[in-house]
Subunit: 379 residues, 2 copies
């Protein structure tokens, strides 16, 4: 009988958004959630700590394939799963490069892929030297644990990361920080790709992402006004990373399009990603359906866009009082064409609690309507 | 706080297909299934007999609104729910006309809507008289309990329904059979409409349905080559029925387009319907999302088609060995553009176990591909 049960570690909105395509395809989906009542509650069959080997092993025994809502499962646990014959996608050897930014930068450099100038720095002196070589300003990132702008900081003097160096020293593991040139970019792009264990890949149109305070605010698919070269380069970079790192499932490559026309790799995520939420309505195959197909090693679906334009706007924070649903009567009445997504999370400042997608053939109109519809859920 | 929990009585594929839009909208969905392991298992919070008042009452206490996967809940139970203040959509006064074809025919006739010639017959003599007046052939239907061609029979002599008359007599309830003229139709149409308790309606494009052995086999949206008059008449009929009967939620009106150009109402279903499955991918708002909005009395979404053509082909019976999933590697590889839907049901001859939808701008091509994709799951 065909493998058909996908186990997702982590109960956040990415796991949640895998449930609809699982239901549609007839795939059995089960979730190990961190606590009761999380976003993916409906498919939760276990509650526990993903850093606990026994918890993860017990969950793995109930499914055919393990995949993830996030990249935080410790490598040692992933390796133990693989040693015991569990199908894990993406596997620990690939996931490492999404878990550790220093490893990622080193690997991409080895593969000859375009990245910002970077260095591993272990002291204020190292950092000072990098700053001296790069015009006195740079971006410092913790190698592990950062997301949504956390663990990322622009510094302009050698002492600017002293607290992080101290934390690394106190942590006892030692290790270095990543420092990168401050890239002068005209915009940020994201290229999503899916790859099966057997090697087939599928590439969605490259998109433009708009960040606010380090958090994704909007995504426009495809990235407006892209030259043919940028479209090709973005896809080729994603293919080379997916193949070179042996990624299975969905890979998101966040990129800078620089003011001098280069495309540089910024970050990687090895799972469905905020930059791909537009694909639920906007593509023939959504990133969530594709991820399920990929981790089950099923043939991938067509990633083509269904409309000229798709615009996704995040609902950040949500209503200052009440729930998203309290705003539905007004929002749905004003925007019968918009697709509203709620993640079942309580509103909290800055928290991603939902998103809105609008598709159509007039970009200005689509952007306007997506923003207007999302605005009903804030303030 | 806004009402947000929808309870669905019945755990079949219609309940199953309400789950994805519930997750997307952030609506809490709960299902009372007839037995464990049904299609809508993932959202099942209760297992029991929908003909048992206590079972239904206990389930109703856990939700804000009751709606249905099917029309078989006894009217007495529905009325008791309403008497106790439970929101029930569609309500018993409307649902009656989907439960009892004689009541339906009488009501539509009273509303002046176009229906085939019909009569309530209580004996072979009555039936014979109708046959004499209608060219010697007619369609006999049991008033209650029929679906997918069951409870429907073409007769050409007065004794042709004697077994059903006997069954009615033995049942002790008495009652009549419905007899209708055998309509000479060029094709069958279905008009879906959604209506909120507060009265707003939304009408999808009228579709053509193709039946085989009394079971829906294919749906083409919109119905090809329809005259403007037919499109308007179909929508107007659906509006008058929805308003006239006080339907809440989705209503499907099955119709005949006769060889002499008339549109006659055949059957009603007060729930999402096989003729609307195309809307999952093919419309801005699917029938399942719209049903949730309607029963929660939320503003309806746009029912517009997203592509020139959407074709849905049912998977009837399924593979003679194994599961639908066993056929996925070949089917998905051949048809990356097709959307596959499995209902989590074991294959069985004639059983609806899934469907495939393809959309596009070339009707012949779309029909060909939808049929070809579905064919992978049969035989």
């Amino acid at each position: 009988m065909a493998k058909n049960t996908v186990g997702v570690i982590g109960g956040g909105q990415l796991a949640r958004m895998m449930i609809p395509p699982a239901i549609e395809l007839g795939v059995d989906i089960r979730v190990l959630e961190e606590a009761e009542g999380m976003s993916a509650e409906l498919a939760a069959t276990a509650v526990g700590d993903y850093r606990d080997l026994d918890t993860v092993l017990a969950f793995a025994e109930t499914v055919d394939v393990i995949t993830f809502d996030h990249e935080h499962v410790p490598p040692a646990i992933l390796r133990e799963l693989v040693n015991r014959g569990v199908q894990v996608h993406p596997g620990p050897d690939a996931l490492l490069y999404a878990q550790d930014k220093l490893q990622m930068r080193a690997k991409l450099t080895e593969l000859g892929l375009p990245v910002p100038d970077w260095a591993a720095v272990e002291s204020a002196e190292d950092l000072g030297a990098f700053l001296d070589d790069h015009g006195g300003r740079a971006v410092v990132k913790t190698a592990r644990g950062g997301y949504d702008g956390k663990g990322v900081r622009v510094v302009s003097d050698a002492a600017g990361a002293d607290d992080w160096f101290l934390a690394l020293a106190e942590d006892g593991r030692g290790g270095a920080l990543l420092v990168e040139e401050l890239v002068s970019f005209q915009r940020e792009l994201a290229q999503l790709i899916a790859r099966r264990p057997s090697g087939q890949t599928a590439v969605w149109p490259v998109v433009e992402t708009v960040q606010r305070d380090g958090v994704c605010a909007e995504v426009i698919a495809p990235a407006p006004g892209s030259s043919e070269r940028v479209v090709e380069v973005a896809a080729e970079i994603a293919r080379r990373i997916a193949d070179g790192l042996g990624v299975t499932g969905v890979l998101a490559v966040e990129m800078f399009e620089t003011t001098d026309g280069r495309v540089l790799v910024n970050e990687l995520a090895m799972r469905p990603h905020n930059s791909g939420h537009w694909s639920i309505e906007g593509a023939v195959t959504s990133q969530f359906e594709q991820h399920l197909r990929a981790v089950l090693d099923l043939p991938l679906g067509a990633p083509d866009a269904r409309d000229d334009w798709s615009v996704m706007v995040n609902i950040l924070g949500g209503p200052s009082e009440g729930t998203l649903q309290d705003r539905y009567p007004a929002a749905l009445a004003a925007h019968p064409e918009a697709k509203f997504h709620g993640y079942g999370k309580d509103p909290r400042p800055g928290r991603k609690v939902g998103h809105v997608t609008v598709t159509g053939d007039d970009l200005d109109d689509v952007v306007y309507r997506a923003r207007a519809a999302a605005a009903f859920f804030e303030g």
